[in-house]
Structure formats: C-alpha cells, structure tokens
C-alpha cells in the first residue's frame, strides 16, 4: 500500500497531515518527496543513518585550452546557458547540443549531483528523504530516487507513507506515479478550490484513487459546501474536515505532530481520518 499526501499548493496543511499519518502508522516507511523544502524530518526527529549523493543531471564544461572561440556552441544552445565561451551552470540543462557542434572537442558533459538521498531513523520507523542542491535541474528524478531508496529499505508488510510535493509539474508526477491512493488536502478558499481541481485532474490522468480532507474548514463554510459538491460529482470521498486550531502552530513550534496533543481538536479529527483510511484499505485487503 502506497499512500501519497498532496495538495495543489503548499501551506494547506499537507505536512501537518502527513506528519500525523507518519506518526500514527508505526508499521510504515515514511517518504518525504518534497525535496525542495523537506520538513518531515524536523517533526519526526531522529538520526541520519545513510546519505548518498545522487547524480540526477549532466552539466556541460568547456575546456578553455581547447576552445577556439568559434561561438558555435552559444548559437546552438537553446537555453541561453553559454555566454562568452562560458557555461552558466544554473541555466545549463545538460542536453549536449553544444558538444555536438563544437569543432574542437572542447566540450564535455559531466555528471552533476542534484542532491543527497538520506535515510533517517526516527522513533516511528525509517524516513527516506533528500536534500536537493539549490536550483538543481530535474527535481522529479530526485523524487523518484527518494522513493527507490525507500523501497530498498521497506520491510515486506510495511505501508509506504509519502508526503508529496506541491504543484502539478514533474516533481508531483514523480511522487504520485504508481501510488495506490492519494489524499488531497484542500483549504476552503477560492485558490484552494482551483488548486484542488488541477491536482485532482492529475490524479485522474494517472489513474490514482483520490480522497479528500478539508483543512481549516471553519474559515469559509460556503466554500466547504462547494468543495463537497464537487467531490460528490467526481465521486471522491471526503474523509474528514479538520477545524482551525491554534494548537497546530504550537505543534509546529514544538516540532511535534499535532496528533500527539491529546487536547487538540484538529489532532482528533486527523486521527479519525487516519482510522477511516486505514479501515478502508484493511477491508479491501490491499497491501
């Protein structure tokens, strides 16, 4: 069973829910796919037990001794990455077109490390995550690698619990591919609905079963109603509605999952959502 928790945009409470699920599901390996800004390890704590550099891209290099300054490479580069016979690393996509045209073999493509994949031993099991090199190309590939690393460490009967990436681009596509279910965290705002519709179309395209939970539902109940209607039309089950709760901020500042606060009303609802989800997949007997 692979579950990914996503939200069209960031800041809807995706990580709050993901960290809670990670905490509640002891029998799971946790994966933080948000390689741009990974946060799960901050809440779950623990020690890094493995760290490996990941080569996720190529980068062109010009050997200035061999370069005859003909300018052919600059002309052919469609990404504007060559200027005055120099490569701008942040712009180079490593396509190799420059290498093809160089008359004096002055250009070579070198492997580029786009991030480190890390395994962290938390109190609640292993967490697979990454630290992306800032501005790196191909965050989607790094996400795929983080998931691969998780699968290498996963025990047979364990679930895979993933904190997805915001957006709908390559990184999200890499985090939802092949998942059994996606839990979409939606905020009842105009932009929240918009983002939800876009990310849901994506899960549909990928054929992934989607569930919804509405966060801070008491901000705007009119929009909650709209979201519920939309879900009904699309046949998506709303697993729960999390109330606004000042305790969430306390939890963040204490580096603790919200579900570990007995008095928290948001925490209680997330526990209900987790149980609802768990029962569903136990019933249907999907591993």
């Amino acid at each position: 069973m692979q579950l990914v928790i996503i939200s069209g945009k960031g800041g809807t409470g995706k990580t709050t829910v993901a960290a809670s699920f990670a905490y509640l599901s002891e029998n799971s390996i946790k994966v933080d796919c948000d390689v741009d800004a990974s946060n799960l390890h901050i809440i779950l704590g623990g020690d890094d037990i493995e760290k490996k550099p990941y080569i996720g891209a190529k980068l062109a290099h010009i050997d200035s001794d061999k370069c005859i300054k003909c300018g052919a490479c600059e002309k052919v580069c469609r990404f504007g990455a060559i200027k005055d016979f120099r490569i701008e690393p942040l712009k180079c996509e490593g396509c190799g077109a420059c290498k093809v045209v160089c008359p004096s073999e002055a250009i070579r493509l070198e492997d580029e490390i786009t991030g480190d994949t890390i395994i962290t031993q938390t109190k609640r099991g292993l967490l697979s995550r990454a630290e992306m090199v800032i501005g790196a190309e191909g965050s989607g590939k790094l996400v795929t690698q983080v998931r691969k690393t998780a699968m290498q460490h996963k025990k047979e009967d364990e679930w895979v619990m993933m904190d997805g990436t915001p957006g709908i681009g390559c990184a999200v596509m890499a985090s939802i591919t092949g998942c059994d279910a996606a839990l979409i965290v939606v905020e009842p705002t105009q932009s929240g609905i918009n983002d939800f519709e876009r990310v849901h179309s994506l899960t549909k395209q990928f054929g992934i079963k989607a569930f919804v939970c509405i966060n801070k539902y008491d901000i705007n109940e009119t929009i909650v109603f709209e979201i519920e209607k939309l879900c009904q039309r699309e046949g998506i089950e709303v697993l729960g509605k999390i109330p606004f709760d000042p305790c969430v901020k306390t939890a963040v500042n204490d580096f603790r999952p919200i579900v570990s606060y007995e008095e928290s009303k948001a925490g209680k609802e997330i526990i209900n959502i987790w149980n609802a989800f768990k029962n569903k997949y136990k019933e249907e007997d999907i591993k």
Binding site: G11, A37, G96, T189, N194
Partner: protein
C-alpha cells in the same frame, strides 16, 4: 524594473503579497507560478489575449530514417529509444534541445511545436497582468516561465514565482532587479527561508524579507534578519479578517489598515533596490 516575489515553501502568502503590492503600487503583475497560478483569482483582470506555449520536438520521417540510432544516443533525457521497428519518441521527456536533429546523418528529423501550456494576457482597471498555465500532465514548467519573462516590458513589474528552489524558481528570478522573500515565523518557515536566501545570494540578487502572519514582537525570523543583516521590509500580522478576505478571493487592501501596510512594503522594496 522587475521584482520577484518568492518563498522557500508554499502557502506563506506569496501571492497575497504580490497581488496586493502590485495593486497599491500600480505595478504590473506576472504570475510565473505556472503549476498553480492563483493571482488572477484576486486581481480579476479581463483577459484580452491568450497565446499557446510550444516547445520544438523532433518528428522523424520513417521513410528517410536509416535506423542508425544516433539520435537516441545523443538524447540526454531518454526521450528517444531505438527499437527494431524504428525510433520511439516519448514526448513528455523531451526538453526540445535540438541535439537529435543536428546529429541525424540523413536529415530524417524535422521539428514541430508541441503545446505544453498557455499564457493569458490582460489587465485590471489600473495594471497589466499576465499568467502562465502549465497543461495538466506536462512536467516542464521552465519554457512557459521563460516565455512569460520575455513578454515583460520595462515598466515596474511584480513576478510571482513558484515555491521552492528548483529550476522553475531559477527561471523566474533570473535577471530580476530585486527579490522579496515571503515567509512565516515557524521553524519550517525559517528552514525553507534559508534555502531561498542562499539561492538569491548565489544569483547575486538584492533582496528583502516579508514576514507574513506575524504575531510576536521578536520572533525567530526577525532575529534571523538582524543576525544576517537582511532588510525586513514588512510584517503582516495575522488577523481573522485577512483570512476571510483571502478565502473569498478578495484583495486585503480593501481594508484600510492593510492598504497602508502594503504601500509601506512597496516603498521599502524600492529602498532595497536603491541601497544595493
């Protein structure tokens, strides 16, 4: 002048800051968060023109192809694969670099445009607005962002970037005059802010910080700014009325207090630029 608004993590209020400042300062607005562009929800511009963004992808003439596999070998993104029956093309993996066309010995490859998204151009009563929209199922946002940037003119423009620090953000902030980093006063906010700071420093862009949902005098972001000698150009307090306006898709500057606040931030942004 181009002013980029970015944030290490999502949901810090980047679009709120961008749209409100653009409106009070009469600056144009460009939404480069092409995966989830939301600025138009608040600005409600009238869209006058839409253009499609295409990237050039190879088209192979089976008749001419001699199955030499040179194109598949040169492609760094595995978008072409040689099989017994010919070359297979995986369009979503293609970056449109043109390397395959260049190496084909028999001229069997021509290029055609493949649509990956669109750009909406319009205006509100007072400012010009643009946004990019990545098609669902398309992985690559940078070509749309680059096209948007190419359409920006000389007037002062706010560029609303995507969250994070990936290649999409690099494409959006490349060549801007000043950057505003929006964050919130939580440990995550600080963690992700530091990544954004490193990015703008690497790219030598002068920048300031806006703290959203501030509710303490001397929080961890304020302390960080003092230690690092970074200009804190604004503190937006948390208030229920802001959350309500936002949820309804309204600008906060409808409220007098917020109006003044955003004007102040706009002016201080100009100060960051002047001091650099």
């Amino acid at each position: 002048m181009k002013i980029a608004v970015l944030s290490g993590k999502g949901g810090t209020g980047k679009t709120t800051v961008s749209t409100n400042i653009a409106t009070v300062m009469n600056w144009n607005y460009v939404d480069c968060d092409v995966e989830e562009p939301n600025g138009f929800i608040f600005l409600k511009p009238e869209v006058k023109k839409t253009e499609y963004v295409k990237i050039p992808v190879p088209k192979i003439d089976e008749e001419k192809c001699i199955r030499c596999n040179k194109c598949a070998d040169v492609c760094q993104f595995n978008a072409l694969a040689g099989t017994k029956t010919g070359i297979i093309f995986f369009d979503k993996l293609c970056h449109g670099c043109g390397a395959c066309t260049m190496v084909c010995p028999v001229g069997a490859i021509t290029e055609e445009g493949r649509k990956i998204g669109k750009i909406d151009i319009g205006n509100t009563e007072s400012i010009k607005c643009m946004r990019g929209l990545l098609d669902i199922g398309e992985p690559m946002a940078p070509p749309i962002i680059k096209r948007l940037k190419a359409l920006v003119d000389e007037e002062t423009t706010i560029i609303d970037c995507s969250p994070g620090s990936s290649c999409s953000v690099v494409a959006a902030i490349e060549g801007v005059d000043v950057a505003i980093l929006v964050t919130e006063a939580t440990p995550f906010g600080l963690h992700d802010l530091k990544i954004a700071v490193e990015l703008v420093r690497q790219m030598n862009i002068p920048f300031g910080i806006v703290l959203n949902r501030a509710d303490e005098e001397h929080d961890l972001i304020t302390r960080y700014c003092e230690e690092e000698k970074i200009a804190l150009v604004g503190k937006i307090p948390y208030a229920k009325k802001a959350a309500v306006l936002y949820s309804e898709g309204k600008l906060l500057i409808e409220d007098e207090e917020y109006n003044k606040m955003f004007k102040g931030i706009g002016e201080r942004i100009l100060g960051v630029k002047a001091c650099s």
